[in-house]
């Protein structure tokens, strides 16, 4: 297989109903890129479908969680020497047409993280009340802690520069379950350049979403704790950096 500079990473957990059409849609795009599906210990036919489609496949021996699967993709991208990574969800909610736009943004070399934001898009997207409040809160926290305005910090559609995904790929640098607001704040404070593009999103074709019910409450609380940790950690890190500079 000829290797491209771009790697599309799709973490998939029990997505046999969606992954086939997602892969097909992605291949309709004109850009030359490689596609990697990370099967996060699925118990269904996800891996057979990916193999049949002829795409790159990494099978995790057991379920690591969304973040753990993504990080596997970053490790692969880092080892294989890809220049850019674009990640999207396997459930079909992200429109593959966004890939081209993200690639254009990354190619300028001005950004390390390009987020596909459903809130910048002109299309109206119905979000549950709980989710809307949570997202508004996260936006506000990002704004006051970094001064940067991010409208969709929980978006799973992102493009990353080599610098960003190489950092993420190292052990302990990426959360195992749901990476988003806390990770973004940390990256912005560490001088990674983040921007957003408008991206249309659709509801999942089949199956259940990751965030729902009691899990949503757990997620919200966990995220607030993670953000607090990031803010405390950043302070410590900056002090260490200063100590190094004064020598």
């Amino acid at each position: 297989m000829d290797k491209s500079e771009y790697l599309i990473i799709i973490p998939a957990y029990n997505e046999e109903q969606n992954i086939g059409s997602v892969l097909k849609e992605i291949r309709k795009q004109e850009n030359n890129f490689d596609v990697l599906v990370v099967d996060d210990g699925s118990g269904d036919r996800t891996r057979e479908i990916v193999e049949a489609a002829g795409e790159r496949l990494i099978i995790l021996p057991f379920n690591l969680g969304y973040g753990g699967a993504l990080q596997t993709g970053y490790k692969y991208a880092s080892i294989m020497g890809y220049k850019y990574v674009i990640q999207l969800d396997a459930d079909g909610q992200h429109n593959p047409e966004s890939i081209t736009e993200i690639i254009e943004k990354l190619k300028t070399g001005l950004y390390d993280i390009v987020i596909g934001s459903r809130f910048l898009s002109t299309q109206s997207f119905s979000v549950s009340v709980f989710k809307r409040i949570a997202i508004r809160m996260f936006r506000y926290i990002i704004k006051i802690s970094t001064g940067v305005k991010i409208t969709d910090p929980t978006s799973g559609l992102q493009g990353l520069s080599q610098r960003a995904f190489t950092y993420y790929s190292l052990q302990g640098n990426y959360p195992e379950d749901y990476p988003d607001t806390d990770t973004l704040i940390y990256m912005i404070l560490s001088n990674y350049r983040v921007t957003e593009i408008p991206a249309d999103m659709r509801h999942r074709n089949f199956g259940r979403s990751m965030h729902g019910g009691i899990k949503a409450v757990y997620y919200l609380i966990k995220m607030l704790v993670s953000i607090l940790v990031v803010l405390l950690r950043d302070k410590a890190r900056v002090e260490v950096d200063r100590g190094w500079m004064s020598k």
Binding site: M1, I58, I59, L64, G68, K75, Q171, G172
Partner: protein, 112 residues
């Protein structure tokens, strides 16, 4: 402190130390993890075998019924051990994830 209470605590403490030692000998627990348990049970043993010391300490810190001080100390030791174990589990989880990721990448590259 009542003699009965003392005897029971002493008895439990001795059994506990023996159980930890047995696990160690059989290789079912490593030295590093056993140390905390041994230390904890030794503290209980010493305190229950020296009731006067417990009474003196209890009076000094204003505890009216000395056995409660023993329970308090025991709970603190258990809390400490639990925290220590949570730390160990987190570290192990991180290592386990890393191994799973590296293994799956190697497998994928070998299959090509």
């Amino acid at each position: 402190m009542d003699v009965e209470v003392k005897v029971v605590i002493l008895f439990v403490g001795i059994i506990f130390v023996l159980a930890v030692l047995r696990l160690l000998v059989k290789g079912k627990i490593n030295e590093r993890n056993s140390l905390l348990w041994l230390l904890g049970s030794l503290v209980i043993l010493v305190l229950s075998s020296m009731p006067d010391a417990l009474d003196v300490v209890a009076r000094a810190v204003g505890v009216h019924y000395p056995p409660t001080l023993l329970f308090l100390l025991s709970i603190l030791v258990i809390l400490f051990i639990l925290l220590y174990q949570s730390i160990q589990i987190s570290i192990l989880q991180g290592k386990c994830n890393e191994l799973a990721q590296q293994l799956s990448i190697l497998k994928a590259r070998n299959n090509k």
